[in-house]
Subunit: 449 residues, 2 copies
């Protein structure tokens, strides 16, 4: 074999980084469970026609074929890798509705794939952590207010930069555009969505070109997009623009509920920001994006919204609201900045030194006694000189080396950081709580891999 | 959308089953970490030419193409989904050797894909939990004895049927065949590997046809395959067949070490069984298969072995030994038999009842106080009659309903199984430890989903 090389867009973490990722994912999962979200995993593949329902993303899909596919297999059977977890979840709900109880709250933490051209900060394979709540026929708006609180809890207590969730509501935009007299609010939304990329002048031009706006209407759309407030005052500022429409009122009421609920339970977490639109077209109400403070220019690290029509078949309709944490994106940014690392590169807390190969069974019994009490333990690979065995531990960040006693003497255990060495009994000794597991730290790696 | 239907070979568990799967995976992972294995995830894809190095499995590979692939992309760039975790691990070790410390112990718990024709008990997507130990240049044989002990710990304390690990050594077979005078030991191994499927007579015919064996040699091969023992007596029984070869001696020594180590640390776990061969051709020494007692006819649920030449590039050589737990296979068998289930279908321990919609903020504060102390809590979806709210909890298996006090009265919490209701303070009350989380049980589901 020639030496293999990485594949662009398919990140792989070293074990110490994977330990950080597991710590982050475990914490997110525990938070989701505290809010009563049940776990789900869906298969990695969906029928291609399902994935292509939203034409916009069709270019990003990876299609599968069996290397030895036979004649009988047609394109109708074609499968593609899922590009998000919302479309598969909606499909699962429709397929399994008879076996679920509604409202149904689930979380789903899985890899997704997008066949994009590789470029800076774009991954082709990445990990997402999603929550969604769906109900049959109707979904009360208080769930749209709950979602940001869950995310605030999940990300707020991790050793990562502070986050700010930006909230908007599609009904506010659509109601406002209709109130202005624009007849193609989707085109207007698409134009305003490009604000960060192309700036206000080009958006104004686009509004006139694609959404049939005149100068004044385009200016009003930009004024709306410029509004941002952490509380109910957002509604006053929109109304001050002098546009009225029933859908606008409905949207503002929902938007105010989200930011006011957040202001009560998690002050500083949410802000209403009327430029947030979300590219995907299945959202019908509240939409969320999330900035990591200090990393704003890299875009949203957690996005979602309410979708009323995604899980619909015949007379069955399951409106939902959800959000997706971009785990790989967050970790990629923080690893890249040297802002997150693990205190050691292995789970091991204790290395049992091996005096002679003949005493391996005895060392295995010491290790077994420590493991029985939850202490991660390895036995040294060979009966090398003790100095070499201690270096084995040092290189991996293992804090303790255990020395089996000879000829009736007691065992001893040495903290190789301080040099302290004490007599110890494997059935009773415990390391300090802080040394039991690798700890996740803000800052770069202290350890070789 | 028309109602979607399942795709053959791509299993999806309901949330209560996924909770069981998580419990099993968490337990396996914790055990792996207790033995000092560091976590790793590799990307889902490998270059197709890497996956096809072993011609035997080429038919099982799923190949990817981007839906909007452009002219520039050639077959050289073709990617396939990995069909196991050993080949990607070997590739990772070669690619990242400079950043790893050896011996390197890692675990890896991920989905793999095989484009097989769908049939009973064959999955196209399934979850594997692997451990491997690789070292640079040479790998001491004690690691081959350690692997079954880890698996015994990982699977032995789960609420699943007892397991038995069957061990063999390729060197025993090859040395024996060579000692017999057969010149194509691989052909002989492939023939004997079919013993369970086609029976001894057809294997004898195959040995004569493909491995150049005469009557007597074929009979000797079958005698060897018939030997099984839980201890060092396996070597005596092999030697009693009167065949000698240096490689046979080497293999027997290694084999005896594995079963004797297991007999000392985990009596009853391992048995030497000389019919075990493993189809994949990269194993060079010890091989493992595992039966789940009562489910023997479904084949091995955990297999692996030693490979000396898988991770080799130029002068770099990383011999390894590893094993893979078939998590989906185990769960599929046990779910199918109604032998494993969760005590409830949600993580939630407490439902906070909602007296009126106006009091939702107060109920959210109660829920937040409970969650802060690790108690999974939901607030009722609507201010329905209390009877209906209690049924909401019942249907999900949520054991406690919390009633906010009115007009200065204390809150109360009710165990809806016993009907016991007591005054409680959300900042101090705890459920019994056994009710804090869903519990995994032997036996069928007690609960609707």
């Amino acid at each position: 074999m020639t030496r293999p090389t990485p594949i662009s867009g398919f990140p792989e973490w070293l074990p110490s980084q994977r330990m950080v990722e597991q710590f982050v994912v475990d914490h997110i999962r525990r938070t989701f469970e505290l809010y009563g979200f049940a776990p789900l995993e869906t298969r990695a593949v969906e029928p291609l026609d399902q994935l292509l329902r939203k034409g916009e993303t069709s270019k990003e899909v990876y299609v599968l074929r069996r290397l030895q596919a036979t004649e009988g297999e047609t394109d109708e059977d074609a499968l593609g890798l899922h590009f998000d977890l919302t479309v598969p979840f909606a499909r699962f709900v429709l397929e399994s509705a008879g076996k679920l109880t509604f409202p149904f709250r689930r979380y789903q933490i899985q890899k997704v794939w997008r066949g994009e051209r590789p470029q800076e900060g774009r991954y082709r394979e990445f990990l997402q952590a999603d929550i969604d709540i769906v109900d049959r026929d109707t979904l009360p708006p208080h769930y749209e207010a709950e979602i940001p609180l869950v995310i605030g809890d999940a990300l707020g207590s991790l050793p990562i930069p502070r986050i700010r969730i930006q909230v908007n509501n599609r009904k506010v935009c659509e109601g406002f555009y209709r109130g202005l007299g624009l007849t193609d609010p989707e085109a207007a939304l698409r134009a305003v969505d490009k604000l960060d990329k192309i700036g206000p002048e080009k958006v104004a031009a686009l509004l006139m070109e694609t959404a049939g706006a005149d100068d004044k209407q385009a200016a009003a759309c930009l004024s709306l997009a410029g509004i941002s407030a952490p509380d109910a005052s957002v509604a006053d500022r929109v109304r001050a623009l002098g546009v009225t429409h029933p859908l606008l009122d409905e949207g503002l009421e929902e938007l105010v509920r989200v930011v006011e609920t957040a202001a009560e339970h998690a002050p500083g977490l949410c802000v209403a920001d009327l430029r947030i639109a979300r590219g995907l077209d299945y959202y019908t109400g509240t939409v969320y994006e999330t900035q990591m403070i200090g990393y704003e220019k890299f875009g949203s690290i957690c996005s979602g919204g309410r979708y009323d029509n995604l899980a619909t078949a015949g007379n069955d309709r399951f409106p939902g609201v959800g959000i997706s944490i971009g785990v790989t994106r967050i970790l990629g940014l923080l690893f890249g900045a040297g802002a997150l690392s693990a205190s050691r590169s292995v789970p091991t807390a204790v290395l049992v030194a091996l005096p002679t190969e003949e005493r391996r069974a005895e060392c295995d019994r010491i290790a077994a006694a420590l493991r029985r009490r939850g202490i991660a333990t390895e036995v040294a690979p060979s009966a090398a000189k003790y100095g070499k065995q201690i270096r084995f531990a040092e290189r991996r960040g293992i804090p303790f080396v255990w020395f089996p006693g000879a000829g009736g003497e007691a065992d001893t255990v040495k903290d190789i950081r301080s040099g302290d060495q004490v007599e110890a009994d494997a059935s009773a000794w415990d390391p300090p709580e802080a040394d039991l597991r690798s700890v996740v730290l803000q800052g770069p790696d202290q350890q070789s891999q």
